[in-house]
Symmetry: C2
Subunit: 471 residues, 2 copies
């Protein structure tokens, strides 16, 4: 099936909207005309919503999953084009990520992973490691003293001061310690992580990533699925469907969510109305204000959503003829429009595949001007373009940005607000996970939390187990 999401360009076809994905669900709904009262409605079918819907359905709840797109996966999905999986969003996983690994292990997919880079780049890795160590070394201990416990990030409250600093502020502090190559390496790499600008990016959030990666650049190189991200996401969806308790409707963007003490009502943009005892909003931070909540979102939540996260990534894949790019990483900040790029795999045609990351600085809009993007790729290194595939996350109406990366102040001021329940609505998103926030792992962490809390809540309401079942 072909999703509306993503674009592809070849010499022959020109720019075409939509790419094929096994994550597209057809038919898009299994609801029919019947009116039902659900136990829980889950809004959003990314990993967070999929996990919440699956866990709730497995536990015996009657679940409705609503999704604006035509596919599962949210900000992580893959397009399979001529036998090759292009990762359109979140990609990397590892056994150091507890929630995602539990699922990979449970679905017996641990042997379906491959390294996301073919080769190590020893000198480059050494340069990057030494540069990043200077960047994070605020405590003479590579950050281990200020953030000893990344899954309880404020364990040492001293760390909060670093959320007052932007990456630009931090660069000023250390610029005399860095060689010109190190300076470029740090900035390009951090802009790869935040896909924003140094001024808008919180230094604290990078410290958190660093601690999660065991305080080493080495663990930022991760594994990816041989069959693409959608081959993983579909497992969650299928398992939920197989319970017989999952109703779903894709192509169903939600317009409004209204609650009273008894139930929650959801109205889609098309005017369909659904009811449930509880609702899990797995809607990303940057589009939370696009839904009308009644009563309105709590002030803290609304403020956080208005601030938003800063990641404006445009992810661009290039399939190039010829094989000069055997092993290669390109950094190109601040002059280029794609600050970071790397040689990834090899397509079935034997062509090198390069993946490049655009950021908020000099932002590309390839859907509007593909020629500028093709030139930006050429600015990285000379390549003969066979195919360009991309997802412009910055302008995606259901995300308005890619993975979460915070501006200064947002996490220390608003994390609790973003995580808070409001009446019968539970808010879940990787954007406010406490562990691997921004990552697929954080999405699963949050989906797990939401389903667990809804089940406990309904159990308390009934005074006993909500779930009675027989074979």
């Amino acid at each position: 099936m072909t999703s509306r999401d993503g674009y592809q360009w070849t010499e022959k076809s020109g720019l075409v909207q939509g790419v094929p994905s096994i994550g597209v669900i057809h038919p898009p709904s299994n609801i029919g005309q019947k009116q039902e009262q659900y136990d829980v409605i889950v809004v959003g079918a990314g990993y967070c919503g999929l996990t919440a819907a699956r866990d709730a359905a497995l536990s015996g709840l009657k679940v409705l999953l609503l999704e604006g797109r035509d596919r599962i996966g949210g900000r992580s999905w893959s397009s399979n084009i001529e036998g090759y999986p292009f990762e359109m969003g979140g990609t990397w996983v590892s056994w150091g990520q507890p929630h995602v690994w539990r699922e990979i292990s449970r679905y017996n997919m641990r042997q379906e992973l491959e390294l996301s880079r073919n080769m190590s780049h020893e000198e480059e890795d050494k340069l990057m490691q030494s540069a990043l160590e200077k960047f994070v070394n605020v405590d003479g201990n590579l950050g281990k003293t200020v953030m000893p416990f990344p899954h309880d990030e404020f364990h040492n409250p001293e760390v909060k001061q670093f959320d007052k600093l932007s990456v630009a502020d931090r660069m000023v502090q250390i610029k005399n310690q860095l060689s010109p190559d190190e300076y470029t390496a740090v900035l390009s790499f951090v802009m790869l992580c935040s896909a924003s600008t140094p001024e808008k990016t919180s230094f604290y959030e990078f410290l958190h990533w660093w601690a999660l990666c065991n305080f080493s650049y080495e663990y930022l190189v991760k594994y990816k699925f041989r069959g693409g991200q959608s081959s993983f996401a579909i497992k969650f969806f299928q398992e939920a469907v197989e319970t017989g308790r999952l109703s779903y409707a894709f192509n169903s963007p939600v317009a409004s969510i209204t609650q009273n003490q008894q139930r929650v009502e959801v109205r889609t943009r098309a005017g369909d109305v659904y009811h449930a005892a509880r609702l899990i909003s797995a809607v990303p931070l940057n589009v939370l204000n696009d839904i009308t909540f009644s009563p309105p979102l709590a002030q803290g939540k609304k403020t956080a959503a208005t601030t938003g996260h800063v990641n404006k990534c445009v992810k661009v894949h290039a399939e190039c003829r010829g094989s000069e790019l055997r092993s290669w990483t390109g950094v190109n900040y601040p002059n280029g429009q794609l600050p970071y790029a790397l040689r990834d795999g090899t397509t079935p045609n034997g062509n090198p595949h390069v993946v490049a990351f655009g950021a908020d600085h000099n932002r590309l809009t390839p859907d509007k001007d593909i020629e500028v993007t093709k030139q930006a790729l050429q600015d990285l290194t000379k390549m003969e373009l066979e195919r360009v595939v991309f997802h412009n996350w910055a302008d995606d109406e259901f995300a308005k940005g890619a993975w979460f990366f915070s501006p200064p102040g947002l996490v220390t001021e608003s994390l609790d607000d973003m995580r808070a329940r409001q009446g019968n609505i539970f808010f879940a998103s990787s954007d406010w996970a406490v562990g691997w926030r921004s990552f697929i792992d954080g999405a699963i962490e949050e989906g797990t939390r939401a389903a667990f809390n809804v089940i406990q809540d309904l159990k308390a309401r009934k005074g006993s187990s909500p779930i009675k079942s027989v074979l």
Copy 2:
């Protein structure tokens, strides 16, 4: 409640069998006289069995949990004595352990952890790191080349050759590279890990641990629960009970397991008989042959169980008067009977708490001769003993050893055999986990696998979801 397991000695009481634990379940059974047909019987209420029983019950299956002991937790449990939790078995957890961390996160317990050592021991840690690096450095890359992917341990099949080596063999290879202090450090530490002798311990298995710990001694220092292990295990049990679908009987050692194509029959030593469609054996490797299986265990499984793992740990806690032991680690191999000991916490009386680990070399039997054990503690360092608390795992009838550690050859030859299903019986244990084998994480990994497979299997049998439920 007081468990029959464990022993305590004080000057006043002398040696007393049994220590208090919140893991003791009372009343020990909720079955009553009714005869029921269960979907699945789970034998063993350690973390593996608890996870399997919980997941199966959550998914709507009717579950019977049978356990020989009077408590949950198996080889991981804690005794709370005068307000202080003594860890009687498995203790350490970390966010680098995916299955355990998913549960800690899900039960919202991430802020209930504390470091298992109060202080770092810089010089000692440096000595240990350098000595262990020489020990594992078979590939000039600290083991990263031969075991790049510890959760798919045979990814590089070259690694299998190291399962032909014992630790003693490896020590011969490197003895000229080690200082006398390094030599003692390595052997004491590896005997802490295997609780056996260098001759009986596989070098390969230590390589696997090392890789799981990100190739660093640093990550072997882990976190533990402030409230003790049993405060974690009880969450699994309570959640399973709350489904209303868990029947259980403690003090019910299983004598025989008989299966035909339709069902499985379990007979306890007391003569009680139970039936189910499927059975999950969460029985440890070293006692698997103590149950009579009909038809008998497959040859590969039987052989592995006859070989057994080599860990014969006797875990000994000492509460000592006075505070000289502010920060201390003792290594004492091969002369002492407790090759490794460390200062852990401080009891509510303000006394230092030392935890010591006995191994198969010069094995202690403190339940038979407490005076010898008290002397072995004194041999580590002069201490005034206020209290001794211990669990002799080597002689424990339901474990016959502590956490899994393999002799040469066992893992490479028998891992698949140990993991294999046999008819309607699924075998699950940390002893044959593929990730953190031997750890609580591996137990949860295996319990998750077993429940998932049983549910899939029953679903396939029925041709649809096994679970129909309503609020």
